[in-house]
């Protein structure tokens, strides 16, 4: 394991999230917690692996706010603690975060949040930096994998100095990028946990006074940031044109200037400590610029601060950014940055000719290569139990005839909104929103189905289910229990019997939780297609809040455990395009494990991807699909 390598000074290739984990190890972290979420999941994944070896603690918590509270408790008892999450996770924590800042912390506490500009694997592209502003907490933005490590380590020191949590904000391209990292020393200091003071907010501690205290701490942080090595200047020392950037934007900007061969008159102000802004440092470079272009992801966060700073100081500098509605916006403040985006921005504001940096032959070949890529639609994996579950739900809704709405949720089954999920979901928002929404659709005067996976259920659905029960909502809550937090990479959760460090753990059973809430519960294997349809149909005829658990292990885990079963099509039986089938398996059920053999006019199993789950064999009207028993 590279992140536990005890060779200070050695350079190793690490993923950004591994570098963050290494930074925590070098800081002597004692307690780590997280809820998985792309692009953050690897941080706790590798920390949990390292934990037994290095003698610290790591856990997958039930959700992000619990993770943050648990990490804060470790900090209160004097230990260094880290909690990691994806961008939306911080929204889950918002309530605690904005009181934790008032109580302060003791042992260094670092909150790592991995944002997902362009929402590559998220439901939004929310920018964490605004939370740093809301909570008046310092925030660091690594621009390289090396910085990801170094900043994390520094964040612990800063947190301990300020007695406040410190946020490290990464983005997908940093977290999932790889780069050389020069290792530092592993801190093996083990402090004894001790709770010797009170960490309170509210009546016993004036929020206003503490708020003022927070601002004082921010001023101290800003002072420290003025000399931080994470902020630096690159290029023509007296450049009239300045690129101000942070995070992934730093390397994009550098490469763009190199590609365009822009040296004289151009400089880059790279910022790593973006909240609070090191005002004197920034001002020292704004003073020699006539124009500044702000390259950042995703909100115009630095842009606003720099504009405010320029206004405060009365500087005459034209600042281009992405503020919606601004006359000097070069683009809208959405999506990711890239080298191309920086070049495009320079073209717009500086009239740089596009033809001068990339040859036409390259462009043409790239375009040709793009055509060679097969079109692939987003789809459930072969053998995925969700495909069978959603098929059963869709069928039961058709049989019921009332056009029952389905509220989706977050997990692999989010794909319920696409063809692979039979377009079943009418809503999809955040973790746990499905059951909450479903309990509010009462005026539709028909049953509503809510979906949630097992991990999502533990994470965010219990208050929603209690609400549905308490307020007697006509909700059929279908739990898609695949025994995994599958979408983020099979992290264990309270229902699976192991913890983050691989130790046996008590199992919290979905059905027991539901029964405890007082709702009727039925359990069914979605691969038993007819029984599954019947179960949904019958439960739709009931009233009040009720739970149906569709239980079948994730196809990937199941295949790893028992191997693939061989399946094949008996061509003489296959009806093909005729009445009685018309390619039901490949066209409607649409599992990637089945392909349509155009020449033969028959279905064919793609043995490379088929897991042999056998659901298509149950649906085939001709009994033409055979799964060999192993």
């Amino acid at each position: 394991m590279l992140i536990t390598l005890d060779e200070p000074g050695r350079e190793v290739l690490l993923m950004g999230n591994e570098a963050i984990a290494r930074g925590a190890i070098e800081a002597g972290v004692a307690f780590c917690s997280a809820y998985p979420g792309t692009p953050s999941s690897e941080i706790l994944g590798v920390l949990a692996e390292a934990a037994p070896k290095l003698g610290f603690y790591a856990e997958w918590s039930t959700n992000e706010i619990v993770a943050m509270e648990a990490a804060a408790a470790a900090s209160f008892s004097g230990l260094r603690a880290l909690c990691a999450m994806k961008s939306q996770g911080l929204s889950v924590c918002a309530d605690f975060l904005t009181t934790l800042n008032l109580s302060g912390t003791k042992g260094g506490m670092v909150i790592v949040v991995c944002d997902d500009p362009a929402a590559l694997s998220s439901v939004n592209e929310i920018d964490t930096r605004s939370y740093a502003e809301i909570a008046d907490l310092p925030l660091l933005e690594p621009a390289t994998v090396q910085e990801a490590k170094d900043m994390t380590k520094f964040a612990f020191e800063l947190s301990e100095e300020l007695q406040e949590p410190c946020i490290v904000r990464s983005v997908t391209r940093i977290s999932h990028g790889r780069g050389n990292v020069r290792l530092g020393e592993i801190n093996r200091e083990r402090r004894a946990a001790q709770l010797s003071e009170r960490f309170v907010t509210g009546l016993a501690a004036s929020a206003v006074e503490r708020h003022a205290g927070l601002h004082e701490k921010l001023r101290r942080a800003a002072e420290k940031f003025e000399g931080s090595p994470f902020n630096f200047y690159y290029g023509d020392p007296d450049a009239a044109f300045l690129i101000i950037t942070s995070g992934a934007g730093w390397l994009y900007s550098k490469e763009a200037l190199q590609l365009l061969d822009l040296k004289e008159g151009f400089g880059i102000l790279k910022l790593g400590t973006t909240h609070p802004l090191p005002r004197r440092f920034v001002a020292s470079h704004l003073k020699h610029a006539a124009e500044a272009l702000v390259i950042e992801e995703t909100d115009p966060f630095i842009e606003r601060k720099v504009k405010a700073l320029a206004a405060d100081l009365g500087l005459d500098v034209r600042i281009y950014g992405r503020e919606p509605g601004s006359e000097r916006a070069f683009a809208d403040a959405v999506g990711e940055m890239s080298v191309d985006a920086v070049i495009e921005a320079l073209r717009r504001v500086k009239n740089v000719e596009k033809a001068s940096f990339r040859d036409a032959e390259y462009e043409r070949e790239a375009e040709e290569a793009l055509k060679m890529l097969p079109r692939r639609e987003i789809a459930f994996c072969p053998g995925c139990p969700h495909r069978a579950s959603l098929f059963a739900i869709k069928t039961a809704i058709k049989l019921d005839g009332r056009e029952v709405p389905v509220c989706g949720d977050i997990g692999c089954y989010t794909l319920g909104m696409f063809r692979t999920g039979f377009y079943i979901s009418s809503t999809s928002h955040c973790m746990g929103a499905g059951i909450g929404l479903a309990s509010g659709f009462r005026n539709l005067e028909k049953p509503v189905i809510a979906l949630a996976g097992d991990s999502t259920f533990f994470h965010a659905c219990i208050p929603g289910l209690i609400n549905a029960r308490y307020n007697n909502a006509n909700v059929l809550f279908i739990l898609l229990d695949n025994g995994a937090t599958a979408m983020t990479g099979f992290q264990p959760h309270p229902g699976v019997g192991t913890n983050a460090m691989g130790e046996p753990a008590p199992v919290v059973r979905l059905e027991e939780v539901c029964k405890g809430i007082g709702v009727p519960v039925r359990i069914c294997d979605p691969f038993d297609v007819d029984a599954a349809i019947k179960a949904v149909y019958e439960m739709l005829q009931q009233d009040g809040a009720r739970v149906l658990i569709f239980r079948h292990t994730c196809g990937i885990i199941e295949t790893r455990r028992r191997g693939r079963r061989k399946a094949y099509v008996v061509e003489e039986k296959c009806i093909g395009e005729g009445c009685g089938c018309n390619r039901f398996c490949s066209r409607v059920f649409n599992c990637p494990g089945i392909v349509w053999d155009k020449e033969k006019g028959k279905a064919r199993i793609d043995e490379v991807v088929c897991t042999g789950c056998g659901v298509c064999a149950k649906l085939c009207p001709a009994g033409a699909i055979v799964v060999e028993e192993t």
Binding site: C574, G578, C579, G580, P621
Partner: protein
């Protein structure tokens, strides 16, 4: 899916006979509900269209197919037939378990035992006391007898026929309601109108159905009736339902209860309102109650095949037969014509176009309607 099946379903005309279930993966059923779960995208009309008794029903064409002739004036009211009589199973054990005289059970069991058919598609009582229909393929006398007694609900039993055909059965008997008999005659008559390969190359519906026994039927109940019933008795405790003149009787192991027929009738499936056939006019043999005589059946023998099988069973001592009194026959004819007249009126009201009858037949039916009012 260009076909009229969609209209049949959305228009509430579906009889839940089950003829369209298990012929493709796009149509599914549960209880008496049939639903298209996805468009099959087949451009031409398929089996569902040809099999469904409510897409089109050309009475003369089907009579030509089954009996080799169009209907004469004499045939209109009870359908083509050779004789109408009273009969019952000789076996007391069969009768004791039967709704009335046990003729259908006895005939099917006998046909299986003599090898006339390999198996029969029947409607068993399913779980929970035998009230709700569950289609089965019966291969033995015991299985046949387990299906005795009238189910007042539809359960898409012909789905089991479709499955049995795919499973390779080549000599089947079917006991069904009039709408189911219509459907399976359509299956036989138009089965080769649809071409498709694979497994269907081996199935010949017209040859595989060897005996069709139709049951008299006035209407069936929707599943909502269970909700009403449960307010009076525990549905799973019910062993038998019956409708003697003017009442609705519920029998349990130790109780008998009567419900007002008018209330029960509120739960009649709307698709029954347009049913023009009380006596299963396209069957080989039709079997029904003999009003006022609980352990006898009224039997209508229709085809040569029906006549042969019935007489053979009589000769083998399976059945006891007697003449039907003229008065009873007249009442049967009146009831049948009355149902036709009501259905015809409803069909006109709904502007439903599925039923095609001859001018002669229309006049007879419409005349009755006028007389009654």
């Amino acid at each position: 899916m260009p076909n009229r099946i969609v209209e049949v379903l959305s228009g509430g005309l579906c009889t839940a006979c089950g003829a369209c279930v298990n012929i493709c993966p796009y149509i599914r059923n549960i209880e008496d509900r049939i639903a298209i779960i996805e468009d099959c995208n087949v451009e031409e009309e398929g089996r569902c269209y040809y099999y469904c008794p409510r897409t089109f029903l050309d009475v003369d064409e089907l009579n030509e197919f089954v009996f080799g002739r169009r209907r004469s004036e004499e045939d209109v009211i009870l359908g083509c037939h050779t004789s109408v009589l009273a009969a019952r199973a000789k076996s007391e054990a069969i009768r004791k378990n039967a709704q009335y005289g046990g003729v259908a059970s006895a005939l099917i069991a006998h046909a299986i035992e003599t090898g006339e058919i390999e198996a029969a598609v029947l409607t068993s009582g399913g779980d929970g006391g035998g009230l709700l229909p569950m289609p089965i393929v019966a291969k033995s006398k015991d299985e046949v007898l387990s299906c005795a007694k009238t189910k007042y609900f539809m359960g898409a039993s012909l789905s089991a026929l479709n499955k049995a055909l795919k499973d390779g059965f080549e000599s089947l008997g079917v006991v069904g309601t009039p709408c189911q008999v219509q459907a399976l005659r359509k299956m036989q008559a138009y089965g080769d109108a649809v071409e498709s390969g694979g497994i269907y190359e081996e199935i010949d519906v017209s040859k595989s159905i060897k005996l069709v026994i139709g049951l008299f039927c006035m209407w069936s109940l929707s599943y909502d009736f269970l909700w009403y019933l449960s307010k009076h008795v525990e549905p799973s405790a019910v062993r038998k339902l019956d409708i003697p003149v003017g009442g609705f009787l519920i029998f349990g192991e130790r109780f008998k209860k009567e419900l007002p027929l008018e209330e029960v009738k509120r739960y009649v499936r709307r698709a029954c309102d347009v049913c023009y056939d009380m006596t299963a006019e396209l069957a080989d043999i039709s079997v029904g109650a003999l009003e006022g005589v609980p352990d006898w059946n009224t039997v209508i023998l229709r085809t040569e095949r029906g006549e042969h099988i019935f007489r053979e069973a009589e000769a083998a001592g399976v059945l006891e037969v007697k003449e039907l009194e003229a008065e009873r026959l007249e009442h049967l004819r009146w009831a049948s014509l009355r149902k036709k007249a009501k259905a015809w009126r409803r069909i006109r009201e709904l502007k439903a176009e599925f039923l095609k009858i001859s001018e002669l037949e229309r006049k007879i039916v419409e005349r009755f309607r006028l007389e009654e009012e």
